[in-house]
Symmetry: C2
């Protein structure tokens, strides 16, 4: 085991340190956020900080920096109040990574990367046609994190698109069957292999394996 | 493709809805958070909402509800200002899930699940011995999310423990080699399979595959 203390952390070269710290939070979801500015220019940016905030109301959040490459995402959301989140899958993970290049505000990442915008009525932001699980949100709040100047952007889900077969009997969505990928560190992409679904944990009771549809299957031996 | 609108979302049974919404954010990191109360009772709880907030200072955040099963985690952090985050791996994912059972404040999840507390000097919270990548944090801020009454707890990293071989030349930590698992939905656990590391994206430049150590390897064909 290597022990790294606060001093050693502070003395790391910035890029090395960024790789280390970004590896600590574990596997991260890989999503493209779609937005559009007031002039109608579509924007697409990759984010690994999308997370669940609550089911009722249905809230999802992500972290952004005010002056980063992805600032167009923030500016567009402030203009239109709308955005889409599109799970990245094994068919377009490299095009998704390419959206992190520093394109100008008038350059559309869809055109630059070959991904296809998909528009539905009532949503003022593009979906990614190639994504198998995607949803639109309306901006609810932007919470400033004063410790480091980042922002937590919170949206409420308004519309979900997902293949019917992936939605199981109890509402669980089999995102592995959609070939959804994840990120580790800053730049490593991975697919998944299911160990199992597990029963709701209770004190003094053994866990059972659940089927994909959420049915109790068997005890572990 | 199944389309689900806001009305249909509202009308879902609460548990079904929870499964759907929890599946939307993609694969989530699986971590055990270790804390200790003023009486010296250790606590361990599983969280799927740990995320990277910044590398300098090194900040990590997670979401908790004030009155959930995991409230002991929050109360303990408020008491001692310390906590540990321990990546869950394939060797103890079921024991980790079992920590979500509703144990009393005087019951220690380590004893209930067979996991082993590990103490180091200067950290007033237990690590999980079985975890291969773990770190301690001091509380920096608790940000209330007023939209749904959740809290964003932010800590600064003070000490990291990780096998030396997993830390690559440029600081990337190969968490796949540590058998770190991830969660989808509320209860499905997965291991990972690497597609590749990718080069830093620039406009008008093709992405290259990177070696584990971050060396440019080859163009994709």
């Amino acid at each position: 085991m290597q022990n790294i203390n606060r001093n050693e952390l502070s003395n790391m070269a910035p890029r090395y340190r960024a790789h280390v710290i970004n590896s600590l939070s574990g596997f991260k979801s890989a999503n493209l956020i779609g937005t559009r500015n007031n002039l109608g220019v579509n924007n697409l940016a990759i984010f690994s900080s999308v997370f669940h905030l609550g089911a009722s109301p249905a809230l999802v959040g992500f972290i952004t920096r005010p002056h980063s490459v992805e600032r167009h995402t923030l500016e567009n959301i402030q203009q239109t109040k709308h955005f889409t989140i599109n799970q990245i899958n094994e068919n377009f993970w490299r095009a998704a990574h390419q959206t992190s290049a520093s394109y100008g505000a008038d350059e559309c990442e869809f055109k630059q990367t070959g991904l296809t915008p998909e528009i539905i009525e009532g949503v003022d932001a593009p979906f990614v046609k190639e994504s198998q699980l995607k949803y639109s949100l309306t901006l609810k709040e932007i919470v400033p994190i004063e410790l480091n100047g980042t922002l937590l952007v919170i949206g409420e889900i308004t519309h979900i698109m997902c293949p019917k077969a992936a939605i199981k009997d109890d509402g669980y969505i089999d995102i592995e069957s959609l070939n959804t990928v994840m990120v580790s560190g800053l730049d490593s992409y991975h697919t998944s292999k299911r160990l199992s679904r597990l029963s709701y944990a209770k004190p003094e009771q053994l866990l059972t394996k659940l089927s994909l549809d959420g049915e109790a299957e068997q005890l572990f031996t």
